[in-house]
């Protein structure tokens, strides 16, 4: 338990088997991340958590911490790379923050601000992704899915339901509701599921509650995303409030 590595020059203690990001979160140090959630096995898909370990690029959420490792994270070079990744996520979906109810409570938006992203830079894909409003309590707005698979993991590993799945591959990968009709209402999904409280963006939404929180009181109004190691629990608390 006394083993440490350095993160941007500061020592971070870790225990056997922890990844760099897990150890950083446990120590209260922020490394940008989107598809990581402290309760789940890392998935390593968004690459926003990429750091340099001994000068080499590595996804910190999946890379084991080793004693004495020299990890760089908050550098202009790495942040520029992260910014480009986030910009790509913006153009691959339809993210229109001004009318999104998750605005201010969204990790993608908060990360974009934190990385100083001012425009999406790339050309928009404008994918056509209709919403699924079939469920009485929950709405799925696929326009904003960043394919982090947290809902898939939560439903499978915690709820024991397999409500969500990623289908297709490469650029065609998309999130689906796992039922014969493909509609959420035909799954066993409930608004109390863990999977109803893990989406880092504005896809899995509790119906009829949008915009209840005024500006100034939303998660990332209170402090920027980089002010805490991980904001997952705070976001989940927002979703949990009325359900």
């Amino acid at each position: 338990m006394n083993a440490t590595f350095t993160l941007d020059g500061r020592p971070v203690a870790f225990s056997e088997g922890q990844t760099i990001l897990q150890a950083a979160v446990a120590a209260g140090a922020y490394i940008p991340h989107l598809c990581f959630h402290p309760d789940f096995k890392p998935h390593g898909s968004c690459k926003v958590c990429t750091v340099k370990v001994g000068g080499r690029h590595a996804a910190s959420c999946t890379t084991r911490a080793t004693a004495g490792a020299v990890v760089e994270s908050d550098t202009p070079e790495l942040n520029a790379e992260r910014r480009a990744l986030v910009q790509m996520l913006f153009v691959e979906g339809n993210h229109f923050c001004p009318s999104c109810e998750k605005s201010g409570d969204c990790k993608l938006q908060a990360t974009a601000y934190d990385l100083g992203m001012s425009t999406p830079h790339f050309d928009h894909f404008y994918p056509d992704r209709p919403v699924d409003a079939s469920h009485p309590d929950m709405l799925l707005d696929f326009n904003r899915c960043i394919l982090c698979s947290l809902c898939v993991r939560a439903s499978r590993d915690v709820d024991g339901k397999n409500v969500f799945a990623l289908a297709g591959r490469g650029i065609r990968t998309r999130l689906i509701a796992n039922s014969r009709t493909g509609r959420l209402v035909d799954t066993s999904f409930s608004h109390q599921d863990k999977a109803a409280h893990v989406c880092p963006v504005g896809v899995i939404l509790h119906k009829r509650r949008g915009f209840e929180t005024p500006f100034g009181s939303r998660v990332f109004d209170r402090k920027p995303i980089s002010a805490r190691a991980d904001s997952t629990a705070e976001i989940a608390a927002v979703e949990a409030d009325g359900s």
């Binding site: 339809n94 229109f96 001004p98 601000y113 928009h124 919403v131 709405l139 939404l205 009829r208 209840e212």
Partner: protein
């Protein structure tokens, strides 16, 4: 931390699908003047593109998102759309009577919007024109010119607008793209500090609004021949009024009068608007032509906005503005005033009323209350109507059992004035067109006529004398005789076949 992404200064860069219909209002206002066999003006057409595409876009979206999303319809008075949509959604969630706190916060937001919009229109867009004259040097006819010649007037204009924006920020959460109004109520009240900060300034705002009415009146009085006759035509009026006939911008029932000022209908529940208002489509304009069913398409067009409201109501429920209203009505000896340039005077009376109302609301303890939302029995259809700065604004939605919008119909203020603007231009063209050549003077006058209505077109929000405008002259045989355009940068170009 600021949320630049939410304010969408360049929304077109975020999502084209959504923005296309909105950006279509960009660009030139196009006017065609059609001549008859004798070379006289027969008809004038103002071609505008409106927001129809938006109605389609909102379909399939969850209803609670609509009050926030519709603000993208208009960069000038987004709060009006925010509130009209919220009122329609109140009906959807069964909130037939809001809590006192919610209703008053929404009113505060709306009257703040009225104040800032009227101040912007008068001081920034029109005062250069009115103070220096329509024919004066274009280089001087802007707010900078006003600031040089009338520094105090310009300063107050800026501060009045800023105060209105501050009221909006504190009630909606942000100056633009706020979220304060939600189905069934609001998401925040005012804090004691916010209330105190607004109270500290409101008395200046009332006083300055009073002076602004005096200024508008004085300008009118200096050149009555121009103000009373420029672009004049007769038509009916329509607006909401309170149950007791008082002026009310936030809620009420529909009242319409004919061109002689006689009541056509009164205290009409706005949910029945389709029984009273029909819409005609004309092939040469994207903007529909609404008319009063009672009078038919030919004669049933009408004016909305300040000129309509000030004359349509029985009284204004704040004393200073009501005194001004009486003077306005007396000016024409009780007969309805139809002069487009009288809009400016009426608009300032409304600004004064907005300031007085804000003052009263700030003294009401309900605005710091905490009972903010209510709901009732769910409905599938909702209509929300509000008096926006430019006139009656109608939002109408149907929502299915899955909470998604299936139908949306909007009649925006500028659309009500469509025929009226065409008429005003026709009168101006008749008077100022000579021969077969378009002149810059004519272009100026057409612009002044359009702008009096404060239309919600981005072409009309460019600085004065710089409105992007293209006028085409067509003879009886349908051939183009002349074309004159002024571009956004003030350049004038002629394109004669």
């Amino acid at each position: 931390m600021t949320y630049g992404l939410e304010t969408a200064e360049h929304p077109e860069k975020l999502r084209r699908v959504a923005i296309d219909p909105v950006s279509r209002v960009e660009g030139h206002g196009k006017v065609t003047i059609l001549l008859d066999d004798e070379g006289k003006v027969r008809q004038v057409r103002l071609h505008v593109v409106e927001f129809r595409g938006f109605e389609r876009f909102i379909q399939g979206r969850p209803y609670w998102e609509v009050p926030v999303m519709v603000q993208r319809l208009c960069g000038i008075c987004p709060v009006s759309h925010h509130l009209a949509a919220s009122k329609a959604m109140d009906a959807i969630v069964g909130a037939h009577r809001l809590t006192p706190a919610a209703e008053k916060i929404r009113r505060l937001m709306h009257y703040g919007q009225m104040l800032q919009s009227h101040a912007l229109h008068f001081f920034h867009l029109c005062s250069p024109d009115l103070l220096f004259g329509f024919a004066s040097d274009v280089a001087r006819r802007n707010i900078v010119g006003v600031a040089a010649a009338h520094p105090e007037t310009a300063r107050r204009g800026v501060l009045l607008r800023r105060f209105g924006q501050e009221v909006i920020r504190l009630t909606a959460g942000k100056r633009i793209h706020g979220t304060g109004s939600i189905p069934g109520g609001v998401n925040k009240a005012l804090s004691a500090e916010e209330r105190a900060a607004l109270l500290a300034d409101i008395y200046d705002m009332v006083a300055w609004s009073r002076d602004a009415v005096a200024l508008a009146k004085e300008l009118h009085g200096k050149d009555p021949a121009l103000y009373n006759s420029f672009g004049v035509f007769r038509s009916g009026f329509m607006s909401l009024v309170a149950p007791d006939g008082a002026m009310d911008f936030y809620d009420g029932r529909l009242r319409a009068r004919d061109d002689a000022g006689d009541i056509l209908f009164d205290q009409v529940d706005y949910r029945d608007y389709r029984t009273y208002i029909r819409e005609e489509v004309k092939p040469w304009s994207y903007m529909k032509f609404p008319f009063l069913a009672q009078l038919g398409a030919e004669k049933g067009w009408y004016k909305v906005g300040p000129l309509a409201r000030v004359q349509n109501c029985d009284h204004i429920p704040t004393p200073l503005a009501d005194a001004e209203r009486r003077e306005f009505v007396d000016y024409a000896g009780g007969a309805p005033i139809h002069a487009p340039l009288a809009y400016h005077w009426a608009r300032m009376i409304e600004m004064l009323h907005a300031a007085e109302t804000i003052k009263d609301l700030l003294h009401d303890d309900d605005i710091v209350g905490d009972d903010l939302v209510c709901t009732g029995e769910r409905a599938r259809e909702g209509v929300g109507v509000i008096e926006a700065p430019r006139g009656t604004l109608i939002h109408h939605y149907r929502v299915d059992d899955d909470d998604l919008v299936t139908m949306c119909n909007l009649i925006v203020s500028t659309t009500h004035n469509n025929q009226a603007m065409n008429e005003a231009i026709r009168h101006v063209a008749k008077r100022y067109l000579s021969g077969h050549e378009l002149t810059e003077g004519l272009l100026n006058h057409i612009e002044v006529a359009i702008r009096a209505f404060d239309p919600c077109l981005s072409c009309a929000t460019h600085a004065l004398g710089k409105m992007a405008l293209e006028v085409t002259l067509v003879d009886a045989g349908g051939a183009e005789v002349d074309r004159l355009a002024r571009h956004g940068d003030g350049r004038v170009s002629r394109d004669r076949p």
